[in-house]
C-alpha cells in the first residue's frame, strides 16, 4: 500500500512537473531570428528555422514540413515587411494553429520594431519586387538585431510568464555583450567608411547605412529581377566615372553576375554570409558580423 502511494505520488509529481518542463516551440522564418531566439530563450525554447542561409527568403515553398512545424509552434518569428509574403501566409492558413496567426501574441514581426529604409514612393510591380513596408533585409545592421531583441524577449516572457525573469536576465546579458560587440565591429570597420561598392541585390541597405558604405549601383536591374547583360554593361560603364572597391552579394545568390562584373571591372567579388549559417564562420550572430566585417575588409584590398 505504501509502495502504491509512493508511486501514485511520484506519478502525480511527474504530471505536474511535465508542463513546467515544456519549452516554447519557436518557428523562425529566417536563420537570424532563429539565432536571436536561441540567444534570448536559452534552454527554455526549441527553435525551428524554416529556411537556411543558402535559400532566398523571398522564394521559399510552403513545403509540407513547414506546415507541420507551424502546427506545433507557440511563437512564429518573422521578418515581416512582406519578405515572406510568398509562403508564410499559406503555411499559417494551412497549419490549423490559431496561436500563431498574425495579430495574435504568438506572431512576431521583427520589422515592426526597426526604422525601415527604402520605403518605395511608387508601388508598382514594374519596379520589380518592391516591398511596401520598406527594404526587409534589416538583419545586416547589428543595431537592428538589438532593437528586435528587446521586444522579442518581452514577447517570450509574455508567452511563458513562468520564466519571465529568466528571459529578462538573458536579454540583459545579451544586450550588454552585443553593445560591446557592435562598438568593436564599428572600430574594425572604420576603413570601410565612404567606400564605394556595387551590390548584386539591394539586400545591404542597412549594412551600408551602418558602416557608411556607398552603394553606386545594383547588378539587378530591378529588385528581384535577374541581372541582364545589357544592364551589367550599363553598370560597367558607370564604373568608368565612379570606380568602386568591390561588388557584394549574399551567400544564397548565384555568383555569375558578380564574377562577370569583377573580371571586367577588376574589382573583388565578395560573398557575405548575409545571415547565420551563410558560411562556416557565421555560426551564430556574433560570427555573422565578425565574418561580414572581415570579408569586407578583405574586399578593400
Amino acid at each position: 500500500m505504501n509502495r502504491f502511494l509512493q508511486s501514485a505520488a511520484l506519478l502525480a509529481m511527474l504530471a505536474i512537473a511535465a508542463p513546467a518542463a515544456a519549452v516554447l516551440n519557436v518557428f523562425a522564418t529566417v536563420p537570424e531570428w532563429g539565432a536571436l531566439a536561441e540567444e534570448l530563450g536559452g534552454d527554455k525554447v526549441k527553435v525551428y528555422t524554416a529556411t537556411n542561409a543558402l535559400q532566398d527568403p523571398h522564394h521559399v515553398e510552403a513545403r509540407p514540413s513547414l506546415i507541420a512545424r507551424a502546427r506545433g509552434a507557440d511563437l512564429v518569428v518573422a521578418t515581416g515587411a512582406e519578405l515572406e509574403v510568398g509562403w508564410l501566409p499559406l503555411v499559417l492558413l494551412q497549419a490549423g494553429n490559431p496561436k500563431v496567426q498574425p495579430g495574435k501574441p504568438g506572431y512576431f514581426e521583427a520589422t515592426q520594431h526597426v526604422p525601415m529604409l527604402e520605403k518605395p514612393v511608387r508601388l508598382d510591380r514594374a519596379e520589380g519586387d518592391v516591398h511596401p513596408g520598406g527594404n526587409p533585409h534589416i538583419q545586416t545592421d547589428p543595431r537592428n538585431i538589438a532593437r528586435v531583441a528587446g521586444p522579442l524577449s518581452v514577447r517570450l516572457a509574455e508567452l511563458d510568464a513562468a520564466n519571465a525573469a529568466y528571459y529578462q536576465s538573458r536579454y540583459k546579458a545579451f544586450a550588454e555583450r552585443w553593445k560591446a560587440a557592435v562598438a568593436n565591429w564599428e572600430q574594425q570597420a572604420a576603413p570601410l567608411r565612404g567606400a564605394p561598392i556595387l551590390v548584386q541585390h539591394k539586400a545591404f541597405t542597412y549594412l551600408e547605412a551602418w558602416l557608411g558604405l556607398k552603394e553606386i549601383a545594383a547588378l539587378e536591374p530591378k529588385p528581384g529581377v535577374e541581372p541582364t547583360t545589357a544592364h551589367l554593361s550599363e553598370v560597367l560603364a558607370t564604373l568608368q566615372r565612379q570606380p568602386v572597391r568591390m561588388v557584394i552579394r549574399a551567400a544564397y545568390q548565384s555568383d555569375r553576375a558578380s564574377q562577370w562584373m569583377a573580371e571586367r571591372a577588376k574589382i573583388n567579388a565578395v560573398a557575405l554570409p548575409f545571415t547565420v549559417g551563410g558560411d562556416d564562420a557565421a555560426k551564430d550572430l556574433y560570427g555573422l558580423f565578425d565574418d561580414t566585417i572581415a570579408r569586407l575588409l578583405k574586399g578593400m584590398q
Binding site: 537556411n52 543558402l54 535559400q55 532566398d56 522564394h59 515553398e61 510552403a62 513545403r63 509540407p64 514540413s65 506546415i67 507541420a68 512545424r69 502546427r71 506545433g72 509574403v85 510568398g86 509562403w87 508564410l88 501566409p89 499559406l90 492558413l93 494551412q94 497549419a95 490549423g96 494553429n97 490559431p98 496561436k99 496567426q101 501574441p105 515592426q112 520594431h113 526604422p115 520605403k119 510591380r125 519586387d129 513596408g133 538589438a146 531583441a149 528587446g150 521586444p151 524577449s153 518581452v154 514577447r155 517570450l156 516572457a157 509574455e158 510568464a161 519571465a164 525573469a165 528571459y167 529578462q168 536579454y171 540583459k172 528581384g224 529581377v225 535577374e226 544564397y252 545568390q253 548565384s254
Partner: protein, 468 residues
C-alpha cells in the same frame, strides 16, 4: 538657426565673460542683455518643443508593450532606444478593409492537327470541359479572386472564372474557420476537393497547359463540390494531413440530383517532409465515392449512331499521388527539379440506360460495371533562372466494361489512350509566365492529334502564394 544670431551670441558671451572689460557703455550693455534674453526665450521654446516630441515618441514606443500583469516584470527590461517612430500607420479610410484582389489573365495560341470538337477519350465517358482550346488565338479562362479575413474566426475567399465565351462562373467560394485549435481547419462552401495532388491547384499554377488525361477522364478536369471539408494536421514533425469532405455530388463523376442529404463523400491522407535540405516530398491516398442518378452522356454505338446514355449507380475513385522536389540546398532560384505522378482507379456499378432520350427508339436499361484505371507522370526541370523544361506521359486503361444486355449496341473498347507532352516555359518574374507546349495526343484509335500551345499567364494584384 541664423548664422548672425550665433555670431552675435558668441560675441555677447565673450563680452560677458570678460568681466574686466570696462569700455562698454551702459547702452551697449542694455542691448546685449536684451539679445541674451531673446536668445534664452528662443532656446526655451525650442527645448519645450523637443521635449514634447520626445514624449510623443516615447508614448508611441510604449504603446505596443503588452499590458498583461504577468509581463510587467519583463516589460521592465530597458528597451533599446528606437531612433525613429515605430510601426508605419496602417491604411485608413473607406478602402482600408477592402479584401485582397487578385487577377489572373491567360491566353493561348493553339495549333491542332484535329478539330477540338472531335476530341474524345476512347472508352471513357466524355464529361466536363476537357477539349483543348479552339484553333488559333483565344483567351483562356481568366480568374478574379477576392479574399480577406471576415472576422477573428473566419477567412473568406471568392474566385470567379471568366471564360472566353463570356460566361462567369463561381469557381470557388468558401469560408475557412481559422480559430480552431489542434490543427483543425474546416472549410465550407464551394471548393476544389483536396483529393489527389493536382485537384485543388488552380489551372494557372499547373506545369502544363492542360490537365493530365486521368484528371480529364475520371474527374472531368477537376472535381469541385459544394459542401463541407474538415482537415486535420497531426501534431508531428513529419507532415500528416487527414481530410474528409461531404458535398452535393452535382459535378462529374456525379450528376445533378434532386435529393436531400449528401451527394459525394471524399477522404484522404497526405504525408510529406524533407530529406536533407535539398529534397522534399509529399505523397497521398484519396478516395471519392458518389451515387450519380441519370448521369447523361453521348457515345457512338456499334452502328455509328450517337446514342444518349444514362448511368445510375455507384462510382468510386481512388487516387495515389506522389511529388518529389529537388533544389540544391533548398534554393530553387537557379535550378530545381520536380517529379510528379498520380495513379487513378475507378469502379462503377449500376444500371445503364441505352438511348435514354429515346431518339433511336431503342431505349433499354441493363446492368453495368466497369473497372478502369489511368496514370500520368511528369518531370519539370529548371535549368537556369526563369527557364524550365518539362515532359509528361499520360496513359489510360479502359479496363473491363460489362454492358450486360446493352452489349449488343455498345462495344467494350480495347484501346489505351495516351499522350506525350513536352513544354518549355519562361518566368521573368513571379507574376508572369510564357509557355510553349507540344504534345501528341492519341486519345482515339482513329487519329493522332499533334497539338501546339503557346500560352501566357499573368498575375495582377495581391501577391499569391503557391501551394507545394
Amino acid at each position: 538657426m541664423s548664422r548672425s544670431l550665433l555670431v552675435r551670441s558668441a560675441l555677447a558671451l565673450a563680452l560677458l565673460s570678460a568681466a574686466d572689460v570696462e569700455a562698454a557703455s551702459d547702452a551697449d550693455l542694455a542691448q546685449i542683455r536684451d539679445e541674451i534674453r531673446q536668445l534664452k526665450e528662443s532656446y526655451e521654446a525650442r527645448i519645450r518643443a523637443l521635449e514634447q516630441r520626445l514624449q510623443d515618441a516615447e508614448g508611441k514606443v510604449a504603446a505596443p508593450a503588452p499590458a498583461s500583469a504577468s509581463v510587467t516584470a519583463a516589460a521592465a527590461v530597458p528597451p533599446e532606444p528606437v531612433t525613429a517612430a515605430a510601426p508605419a500607420s496602417p491604411a485608413s479610410g473607406i478602402g482600408a478593409f477592402n479584401p485582397a484582389i487578385s487577377v489572373v489573365l491567360q491566353g493561348v495560341y493553339a495549333n491542332l492537327s484535329q478539330g477540338p470538337k472531335r476530341y474524345a477519350i476512347a472508352g471513357f465517358v466524355p464529361s466536363g470541359d476537357i477539349a483543348p482550346a479552339k484553333r488559333g488565338f483565344s483567351i483562356a479562362e481568366s480568374e478574379l479572386g477576392l479574399s480577406a479575413n471576415v472576422d477573428d474566426k473566419v477567412y473568406g475567399n471568392l474566385i470567379f472564372s471568366l471564360t472566353p465565351d463570356n460566361t462567369i462562373s463561381v469557381e470557388e467560394a468558401y469560408g475557412v474557420l481559422t480559430a480552431l485549435p489542434e490543427g483543425l481547419t474546416p472549410k465550407f462552401g464551394r471548393f476544389k476537393s483536396g483529393i489527389g495532388y493536382l485537384n485543388d491547384q488552380h489551372q494557372h499554377v499547373w506545369d502544363f497547359y492542360d490537365a493530365p488525361l486521368p484528371y480529364q477522364a475520371f474527374l472531368g478536369g477537376q472535381f469541385t463540390s459544394d459542401g463541407l471539408q474538415l482537415k486535420w494536421i497531426a501534431p508531428t514533425d513529419t507532415f500528416v494531413e487527414l481530410g474528409a469532405e461531404v458535398g452535393d455530388g452535382a459535378n462529374f463523376p456525379g450528376a445533378e440530383r434532386n435529393r436531400n442529404g449528401i451527394g459525394d463523400v471524399a477522404a484522404y491522407v497526405h504525408a510529406g517532409g524533407d530529406v536533407g535540405a535539398s529534397n522534399s516530398w509529399r505523397a497521398g491516398l484519396s478516395w471519392l465515392g458518389l451515387r450519380p442518378q441519370g448521369r447523361q452522356y453521348v457515345q457512338a454505338d456499334t452502328k455509328g449512331n450517337e446514342a444518349q446514355i444514362g448511368f445510375s449507380g455507384r462510382s468510386q475513385l481512388a487516387i495515389a499521388d506522389f511529388v518529389w522536389k529537388y533544389a540544391p540546398n533548398g534554393n530553387a532560384q537557379d535550378t530545381n527539379f520536380k517529379l510528379q505522378a498520380e495513379y487513378f482507379w475507378r469502379r462503377e456499378n449500376g444500371d445503364l440506360t441505352y438511348d435514354s432520350d429515346g431518339a433511336l427508339g431503342l431505349t433499354r436499361t441493363s446492368g453495368y460495371s466497369s473497372r478502369q484505371n489511368g496514370w500520368y507522370a511528369e518531370g519539370v526541370y529548371q535549368f537556369m533562372p526563369s527557364w524550365r523544361v518539362g515532359a509528361r506521359y499520360d496513359r489510360l486503361d479502359p479496363g473491363r466494361l460489362d454492358y450486360g444486355a446493352n452489349g449488343a449496341y455498345l462495344a467494350s473498347p480495347s484501346y489505351d489512350p495516351q499522350r506525350y507532352s513536352l513544354m518549355l516555359d519562361y518566368t521573368p518574374s513571379e507574376f508572369s509566365r510564357f509557355r510553349v507546349q507540344w504534345q501528341q495526343s492519341r486519345t482515339r484509335p482513329d487519329f493522332t492529334d499533334n497539338q501546339l500551345f503557346i500560352q501566357y499567364i499573368l498575375s495582377l494584384g495581391a501577391h499569391g502564394a503557391h501551394k507545394y
